[in-house]
């Protein structure tokens, strides 16, 4: 076990990330102290060495990761795990806007609530939010699952492609061209299995799965009124 510490404070970001990247191939755990809500911490990681960040982080923490196991013991700003291809990010607190924007794979687990546009343009992987998700969550999500154990805000699932927003609580309002369906049992089982792995098992949840109505997928002259929705 080699646990190493990287101090953030007001040191240059470039140095901090370089240290994290270099240590990721040798240490068994990296503890990042004093993060001071700095932006762009632990971005573009490729090694799966656990990185534990003791405090709040700013924008794009874990962004562009293709690997990496990040645990933030605090809150995070916008775009946590944006464009992530692989890996896992856990946020103990709350998350700002655009959680997992355009992510392609891996798992983001928010223990608190997430801000607006959670899972915007998602292209794979899973986002699990224990609290609520904000307005326009799932906007134009291509594939993947956005799962909230709480409530979803306004315009949920707006303009979805093949992504899906799973809501255990209430949906304040639906976005353009989206509607809730009752999910098939095997899909529910898959979601519950994922949640079980995070210690969040509960078979009594009443899932709503918000998917695309596919009316905006095609320019359809004979249904031109559909275009007045947007």
């Amino acid at each position: 076990m080699t646990v190493v510490t990287v101090e953030v404070g007001d040191r240059p970001l470039r140095q901090i990330n370089r240290e994290i990247r270099a240590l990721a191939s040798t240490a068994t755990e990296i503890v990042v102290t004093d993060p001071l809500s700095r932006h762009n911490l632990a971005v573009a990681l490729t090694e799966d060495t656990p990185v534990r960040i003791l405090g709040n982080v700013g924008y794009y923490c874990g962004g562009l990761n293709s690997g990496g196991v990040i645990h933030v013991e605090g809150d995070c700003g916008w775009g946590v795990g944006e464009a992530m291809a692989r890996g896992k990010i856990t946020i103990d607190g709350y998350a700002g806007m655009s959680v997992g924007a355009s992510m392609r794979g891996g798992l983001i687990h928010i223990k608190g609530s997430a801000g607006p546009r959670c899972g915007v343009a998602q292209k794979g992987g899973d986002i699990v939010v224990e609290g609520n998700i904000g307005y326009l969550s799932g906007f134009m999500a291509h594939t993947g699952r956005i799962i909230t154990l709480g409530d979803a805000g306004d315009a949920t699932g707006d303009s979805l492609w093949e992504g899906a927003v799973w809501v255990a609580g209430d949906i304040k309002s639906l976005g353009v061209d989206s509607h809730p369906v009752e999910p098939p049992a095997e899909e529910v089982a898959e979601v519950e299995e994922l949640l079980d792995g995070l210690g969040l098992a509960d078979s009594t949840r009443d899932w709503k799965k918000v998917v695309s109505g596919q009316r905006l997928w095609y320019f359809e002259s004979r249904d031109s009124s559909a275009w007045l929705m947007i």
Binding site: R18, V43, Y59, S66, F139
Partner: protein, 471 residues
């Protein structure tokens, strides 16, 4: 004119849709909604095109879509500017003998990026996505550009392996849609271009119709096969200038401050937009209203943005005012047809130019071959603007495997290389006549305007009176 309204989708009997399309009483060859079906009347307001547009909209229930470039005839014209070469008070260089430097460096802001991009010529191939273009067209552009020491740019559809392999130098584009955005691809790139907008449709996201969303395109963009893809225009995880700065820092971290960051803007308010972008980017790409596209709502092509020629001086002034001239490089694009246009863009203040449509023409766009296939989509060589249909008769803007075989990669790459060489010769010929030993020394003083408009719009001195037209 855009959508394929000449195609009769239910030829037998008159359905409701036939009647909506005004087919009753119509004769073959004059379908409603196409300007050539109408005769010119007396009114300059109700032209055949205006009448046809209304018939088309009343059939389609939406705006029309097409590729290519603007049809707005009021766009300021490069031909309104001429060079005033050296005579008695300036010394020309020998046009056929002396050399003129064409080397172009982008992203050399002091102390920031370790590998600026060095090009042998001041011209490169604009971002045109795989999806809009066939894979063969992308490969041919890459090979052609590499032969003459210049580069290509991926475009919206992600990094195509064929292009990366063919292009010695390649910029990777990060559009708001982020199709296929990947750390590995970022790290394979020689530069990253963040798209804020483009000249053909500033303020609106990319468009790729279902005919072109083949299996491979769909996979690269994580889309269902065959959907009409309309991309977002706002990025998913930043809004304003402050956030953009943080986003750029992330990209620099991910690529270890190795490669330059470009920001691409559609030309609308260049004085303000360029001043903002200069604070964060290494290279600013300014795409004028004439900028080409694979597909766009027609109204945006024709009625949004300002002409390239007018945007460049404003952008240069913004760089001067913010003290970034020379540090942040300015690339201009939109409607550049040849070395003469390119030289004028450099003289107006660009550090390099980018060509899209012209490069497609070097590949063979609008060439007079396979005439029956032009006819099938209601057009002919010289007036084709049908990239949006995916039925490109010469295999460039298509995903149809059969049509794609008409683009022969190696010969097409040679045409691109020779065209870029010829363009560069044209630029150096003009530069030498103006007494410049580097194409980058061309300046506004080397130009004169032939019309009041072009002088007023660019600040170039009016021919003869030798003063810019001001008010």
């Amino acid at each position: 004119m855009a959508d394929d309204l000449s195609i009769n989708d239910s030829p037998n009997g008159l359905s409701h849709e036939d009647l909506v399309a005004l087919r009753d009483g119509a004769v073959d060859g004059r379908p409603a909604g196409i300007p050539t079906s109408y005769d010119h009347g007396e009114s300059i307001r109700w032209t055949p095109k205006d009448i046809a547009d209304i018939h088309a909209m009343s059939r389609l229930g939406r705006y029309q879509i097409r590729g290519f470039t603007t049809a707005n005839r009021r766009m300021a014209n490069w031909n309104d500017l001429v060079f005033v070469p050296a005579t008695a008070t300036r010394l020309p260089l020998e046009g056929y003998r002396e050399s003129c430097d064409t080397k172009t460096v982008l992203g050399d802001r002091p102390g920031l990026v370790s590998n600026p991009i060095e090009l042998d010529i001041p011209i490169y191939i604009a971002s045109m996505s795989f999806g809009a273009l066939s894979a063969s067209a992308k490969a041919a552009l890459g090979r052609g550009a590499s032969k003459v020491g210049t580069m290509t740019c991926s475009g919206e559809g992600g990094m195509l392996p064929e292009e990366r392999e063919a292009s010695k130098t390649m910029v990777y584009q990060m559009t708001p849609s982020r199709y296929g955005l990947d750390l590995e691809h970022l790290r394979q790139a020689d530069g990253i271009e963040i798209v804020i907008g483009q000249g053909a449709k500033p303020g609106t996201g990319g468009l790729l119709l279902g005919m072109k969303i083949s299996d491979r395109v769909a996979r690269m963009r994580s889309l269902p096969v065959g959907v009409d893809q309309r991309s977002t225009v706002r990025h998913p995880d930043f809004l304003g200038a402050d956030d953009l700065l943080i986003k750029i820092e992330e990209l620099r971290e991910a690529t270890d401050y190795r490669i330059p960051i470009f920001v691409k803007l559609g030309a609308t308010r260049p004085r303000f937009d360029v001043a903002m972008a200069a604070k964060v980017a290494d290279v600013i790409v300014l795409d004028g209203a004439e900028g080409g596209t694979g597909a766009s709502p027609e109204l945006l092509l024709d009625h949004t943005g300002i002409p390239t020629m007018t945007a460049i001086p404003a952008a240069r002034e913004a760089l001067e005012e913010s003290g970034m001239s020379g540090e942040v490089k300015l690339v201009a694009a939109g409607g550049i047809r040849n070395g003469t246009d390119a030289a004028k863009a450099l003289a107006l203040g660009a550090d390099a130019v980018m060509i899209g449509t012209a490069a497609l023409m070097a590949l063979g766009c609008n060439s007079p071959r396979y005439l029956e296939d032009y006819q099938k989509i209601g057009t002919s060589p010289g007036k084709c603007h049908h990239c949006h249909t995916g039925r490109c008769p010469v295999g460039i803007t298509t995903q149809d495997p059969f049509l794609e075989t008409r683009l022969h990669v190696d010969p097409a790459a040679d045409r691109v290389a020779r065209y870029l060489t010829a363009m560069t010769m044209e630029i150096t010929m003009l530069a030498k006549a103006c007494g410049k030993s580097s194409v980058h020394n061309l300046e506004m003083e080397d130009l004169r305007a032939l019309s009041l408009d072009s002088s007023a719009l660019t600040g170039v001195k009016l021919a003869g009176v030798d003063r810019p037209f001001t008010w």
